[in-house]
C-alpha cells in the first residue's frame, strides 16, 4: 500500500485481473442483457445461442449460471 499522494487507482474492487474467459463472459452478458432482456431464462438462452459456455464447455443451465455468477460476483 503506497502512501504517496495522490491515490488514483482505477480498479479497487478486483481481486485479480480478469481471465480471458471472464472478459468474454462479461462482454457477452452485456450484449445479452441489451438484446435479450433481464430474465434469467432469457440470459441463459442468449449465452447458449452465442456458444459462450461455462469454463468446462457445457451449455449453461439456470443452475449452473447462477452458481458461476455467485462464484465470480462473491
Amino acid at each position: 500500500m503506497t502512501d504517496t499522494w495522490p491515490y488514483l487507482d482505477v480498479h479497487q474492487s478486483r481481486t485479480h485481473e480478469p481471465t480471458p474467459y471472464e472478459y468474454k463472459l462479461a462482454a457477452t452478458l452485456e450484449e445479452v442483457y441489451t438484446r435479450e432482456g433481464h430474465e434469467l431464462a432469457d440470459v441463459v438462452r442468449g449465452l447458449n445461442a452465442r456458444q459462450v459456455h461455462a469454463a468446462d464447455g457445457a451449455p449453461w443451465t439456470e443452475e449452473s449460471f447462477r452458481a458461476e455468477m455467485n462464484r465470480l460476483g462473491a
Binding site: M1, S13, L72
Partner: protein
C-alpha cells in the same frame, strides 16, 4: 495538538467544518498491525491499528518535542516516538518515557485521540474542536446499511478544495455536459429547471421536468457526517437491478486537497446481485472511473479564486445554498470558543 476553536471562519471554510464526522481514508489503507500518516482538516494525524484490528487515530505529534509519531515504531499496542522513545497508547496516554522513568508525562493523556468508526470500507473520524470533544450522533447513509443494497467503494485523491468536490455533487446539470460522452449520462435534456426541496436532514436539489434519465437529482444529507445521495440510470447492458446510486462523501484534506469517497450502489439480490458485482469488477468500474476522471480534471483545473468571480444562474441554486450553509457553520464555529 487538537483542532482549535479559535480558528478563523476563513480557515475552517478552507480546511473543513469541525464538530462533525468526516471520512478519512479507506479501511484497507491501514492493515492490522500497521500505522499510516494521514492529513485531514489541514492537520497531521496517525492512524494506528493493533493486530486484532482495533483502530485509533492520534494527532501525529509526540507530546515531548513535537516529532511526528508516524516516524516512530508500532509496538503492537502502542507507538514509540523515534526521536526519544516516548511511548503513546492508542487513547493518547503517555505510557512510558524511557529516557526518564517516572517522568511526570507518564500516565497523562497528552495526545489528541479522535473517535473513529469504520463504515462500509471507510474510516470515519469525529473532528471536534476544543469545545466539542464528544462526538455528535452519527446516522449512517441507508444505502450503506440496507442489506438489500450492494455497494462498492471508490476512493480517489484530488488536488481541489473540498468545497469544490461537494459543490460538484450539488450541481447535477454538469452531468449532461461534462459527462455527455459517458456510458450513463449521455441522455436527457441539456436545459432544465431546478428546485430545492427541504428535508429534515438537508435538501434535495432536483429537476422539475425530468427524472430517471440523467443525473437529475441529488440529496444533501447532514446526519453527523455530510453525504449526498443520487441516482443515475444504467443502460440495459448492466443487467437487472435498475439504476445505480452514489453515496458521496468528501474528506477535507487541506486547503487544496480532497479525498473523495463514492460508494456505487445498486438495489440487487441473489443472482442479479452476483451478476452486477461480476460486471462491475470486470467492465463497469473502469467506465465509472473514466467519468470520475472528467470531474477530477475539471475541478483540479479550476482557478483558486473560481468561487470569487462568478456569474451564477438558476442551475446554481443548489451550490449557492450549500455555500451559505457551510459559511454560516464556519462563522458559528469560529466564534464558538470566544
Amino acid at each position: 495538538m487538537t483542532l482549535s476553536s479559535s480558528a478563523t471562519a476563513e480557515h475552517i471554510y478552507a480546511t473543513g467544518l469541525r464538530n462533525q464526522w468526516h471520512p478519512v481514508v479507506p479501511s484497507h489503507f491501514v492493515a492490522p498491525g500497521a500505522m499510516r500518516k494521514v492529513t485531514a482538516l489541514g492537520e497531521q494525524w496517525l492512524l494506528f491499528r493493533r493486530s486484532d484490528g482495533a483502530l485509533s487515530m492520534l494527532a501525529d505529534r509526540c507530546p515531548h518535542r513535537g516529532a511526528p509519531l508516524s516516524l516512530g515504531k508500532h509496538l503492537g499496542d502502542r507507538v514509540a516516538c523515534w526521536y526519544h522513545g516516548v511511548e503513546v497508547e492508542p487513547d493518547g496516554t503517555v505510557s512510558s518515557v524511557p529516557g526518564l522513568p517516572g517522568c511526570s508525562l507518564e500516565g497523562k493523556k497528552l495526545v489528541t485521540s479522535l473517535p473513529v468508526r469504520e463504515v462500509a470500507g471507510a474510516i470515519l473520524a469525529y473532528f471536534g474542536d476544543e469545545e466539542h470533544p464528544e462526538p455528535v450522533a452519527l446516522t449512517l447513509p441507508e444505502p450503506l446499511t440496507d442489506p438489500g443494497v450492494d455497494a462498492f467503494l471508490c476512493y480517489a485523491e484530488w488536488d481541489a478544495p473540498w468545497r469544490y468536490a461537494v459543490e460538484n455533487l450539488l450541481d447535477p446539470m454538469h452531468g449532461a455536459f461534462l459527462h455527455h460522452d459517458s456510458h450513463t449520462m449521455f441522455d436527457g435534456d441539456t436545459t432544465a429547471k431546478f428546485r430545492i426541496r427541504e428535508t429534515g436532514r438537508g435538501y434535495f436539489f432536483e429537476k422539475t421536468d425530468q427524472r430517471g434519465v440523467n443525473f437529475d437529482w441529488v440529496e444533501l444529507c447532514r446526519t453527523g457526517v455530510d453525504w449526498v445521495d443520487l441516482s443515475i440510470p444504467y443502460p440495459p447492458s448492466a443487467g437487472p437491478g435498475g439504476p445505480f446510486g452514489i453515496v458521496g462523501m468528501v474528506c477535507p484534506v487541506g486547503e487544496r486537497r480532497s479525498g473523495v469517497f463514492f460508494w456505487r450502489y445498486r438495489r440487487v439480490e441473489d443472482w442479479q446481485r452476483a451478476s452486477w458485482r461480476f460486471l462491475y469488477r470486470t467492465l463497469i468500474e473502469q467506465r465509472h472511473w473514466d467519468v470520475l476522471e472528467q470531474d477530477r480534471v475539471m475541478l483540479e483545473a479550476m482557478p483558486a479564486d473560481a468561487d470569487q468571480q462568478e456569474n451564477l444562474y438558476q442551475h446554481d441554486l443548489g451550490v449557492v445554498r450549500l455555500r451559505r450553509l457551510y459559511r454560516a457553520a464556519a462563522e458559528a464555529q469560529s466564534t464558538a470558543g470566544a
